[in-house]
Amino acid sequence: MSESHAKLGFLRSYVFSTDHKVIGIQYGITALLFLFFGLCLMMMMRWQLAYPGEAIPIIGGLLGETLVDDGAMLPSFYNSLGAMHGTIMVFMGIVPLAVGAFGNYIVPLQIGAPDMAFPRLNMASYQAFVIGGLVMLSSFFLPGGAASSGWTSYAPLSVTATTGQTFWLIGMIFLIASSLLGAINFIVTIIHLRAEGLTFFRLPFFIWSQLVTAFLLLLAFPPLQVAAIFQLMDRLADTSFFMPTGLVSGGDPVAAVGGGSPLLWQHLFWFLAHPEVYVLILPGMGIVAEVIANNSRKPLWGYRPMVYSLLFLGFMSFCVWAHHMYMTGMGTTMSTFFQITTMIISIPSVIILTCLVISLWGASIRFPVPMLFALAFLPMFGIGGLTGLPLGLAAPDAHFHDTYYVIGHFHYVVAPGTIFAMFAGIYHWYPKVTGRQMNVPLGKLHFWLSFVFMNGIFMPMMFEGMAGVSRRLFDPTVYEIGAAVHGLTTMSSWSAWLLALSQIPFIINFFMSMRKKERAEENPWQATTLEWATSTPPPHGNFVEPPVVYSGPYEYSVPGASSDFSPQFIKQES
């Protein structure tokens, strides 16, 4: 097998590969680069927020006059940064990392498959992702700048915006296509290519989370595809899907016939975007479950309720979208329906989190670096989830809608939530991919600094929102309330810059550790799941012999066993 692999040239092995492991690494590197870029955009914004109207240090002198005025940020640039930060982090950062990288690399290994069901489709997914990402990035170089109507691109603002918005729409079409193709691949792989003996309820929780995520991507993205096409038609062909009659822009009537509805965009957008937020969190929950089970040396508590909760959550995520639209003038009937579904959907989330927490009871807990991130995920996701409660009810939402409270809420879930889960996954599976362990003191430094500064950024935002400061403001001090609590804004900004610096130990660790001479053991975490049944890195085709599964995924500390872990791919003598 390795001979035929050696025959392939560099391009076929590393650039146009159909091997899920190579594609997973490609996704991972690309996504991490995009995440870092998205972080840089935000750091510039945080300067303007903390020191409104002041020239940006160093960078201010380098940017052109369409972006800055004497080094100080212009409102147009601020709005572009905001829209692109959100878009890049969500669609080009987290989803490709959580699903494209971790999913692609780990799923076939963890189910004992030689590769994904459709390797060439897999490669096509990655290529569509890269094209979409490049289209998005290239929009920064347009004369009118990148998209600037928020990652939510509400019409009519987005329809009358500069060309950057068209690039955003085209980029989205490619990114959506990438996710759709990937979703098909994941679902067929998980259903069809499980190893012998690997029944559904012996699957690691990570696989279940990827399966549900794939269904969400498959079924929720098409309406946004439609919406993007409608918006392109409105922008380029002067149709009026989202343009009502009688619009003016800058005093002049807009050249559209009218008869359309701005709220139609919102319905189509949020029909995707709500399931999308579950896409953002579920793979992370899956990784946290794996790391916690492994480092508590006992089975997960409530594995079955967790799986059923996952399935129920996936289904319910299609029924709550209009809780993003409570303030659009909706009547009591519709808002009642969505408040009820929103309250219902909090229950499976609580169940999953509670099961993970209870899994710690009666455990024997080790604290390697991945476990630190996985443990921190629990309270951080807890805060994020809990702050969703006042937002999910329409009456309190009247105060919190479009304030910093919302920004704090979703960042708690995604930043010290999902991103910590991603870090946990990187530290945990690094030895599988590279054959080396990451340096532990650097890892612990990375963890503690990140934990402190994540909270330093987002906890002040909860209070800013409570005070009534609106989001997406180029200069919040224009308002009395924003001026009164400006200290909170400055605190968030400094924490953001320090958080960025805190990633340096991680970056150094990530690259340095690859070149260590000392190799890690084959199964350094004494784990029970199938990805550890093969060599490091796994060969082309993953397993020399197709593995057979004999037990559940978390057989740790089995009474009477010879060691404190019983891998599911080894038959235990009873």
């Binding site: 069901a117 459709f118 069809h192 595809q225 062909a237 009218g258 008869g259 509805s261 189509l268 082309h540």
Partner: protein, 210 residues
């Protein structure tokens, strides 16, 4: 590189009863249902929410029902020939496969040609996607919908034709070495083609008749 053998490419999986390719196309069609569902829902939402008399029926908007009906029959017939082409393969008759697949492609192209006539007729009368109906006061974006929805559908037909041409001209070589696998590919393309036909069967009454 593709030395690794991925199971269930040609034999069905015991749980689902189908090959991986077939499961894959069914999943793809599920996403397409969501796509066209969103299109239809948007049309319904805007039309139901609009004021009395601002949205035309198909006839009022100048859509030609006999031509639309003809196109519907063309697509339905092409679905039949598509099934026949697959059945020919299963019965070991590649010659019949070629004839039926050729007919499917030809009928698909006929659909697009007729569509082209319909579009150019509209353009001739000064009706474009941006045109409002009825006129200046209280217009609706019916034509925006008409061109966008039928355009997207036509794009799907076009892509289906391309796949079928590939199967007929280049793909057939696989029949000599792995007839079951090739028949599977034709079946998968057939499922997609039936779906595209089904969408039109909903589109035609929605736009032309209601």
């Amino acid at each position: 590189m593709s030395e690794i053998v991925i199971p269930y490419r040609t034999e069905p999986h015991p749980l689902t009863g189908v090959t991986s390719g077939k499961l894959g196309i069914w999943l793809f069609l599920a996403s397409e249902v969501m796509l066209f569902g969103a299109l239809f829902s948007s049309y319904v939402l805007l039309r139901v929410g609009a004021a009395e008399g601002t949205w035309p029926t198909g006839v009022e908007a100048g859509l030609n029902v006999p031509i639309g009906t003809f196109n519907t029959l063309v697509l339905i017939t092409s679905s039949i020939t598509m099934v026949m082409s697959w059945a020919s393969l299963k019965m070991g008759n590649p010659g019949a496969f070629k004839r039926y697949m050729g007919a499917t492609i030809a009928l698909g192209m006929l659909f697009l040609v007729v569509k082209g006539f319909e579009y150019s007729g509209k353009f001739h009368h000064g009706i474009f996607p941006a045109t409002g109906w009825p006129g200046a006061s209280d217009p609706s974006t019916f034509y925006g919908f008409y061109f966008t929805i039928t355009g997207l559908h036509a794009l799907h037909v076009f892509l289906g034709i391309l796949v079928n041409i590939w199967l007929l001209v280049w793909g057939l070589a696989l029949y000599k070495t792995e007839p079951e696998r090739f028949a599977g590919r034709v079946e998968i393309s057939g499922l997609y083609w039936h779906f595209v036909d089904l969408v039109w069967i909903f589109l035609f009454p929605l736009l032309y008749l209601l």
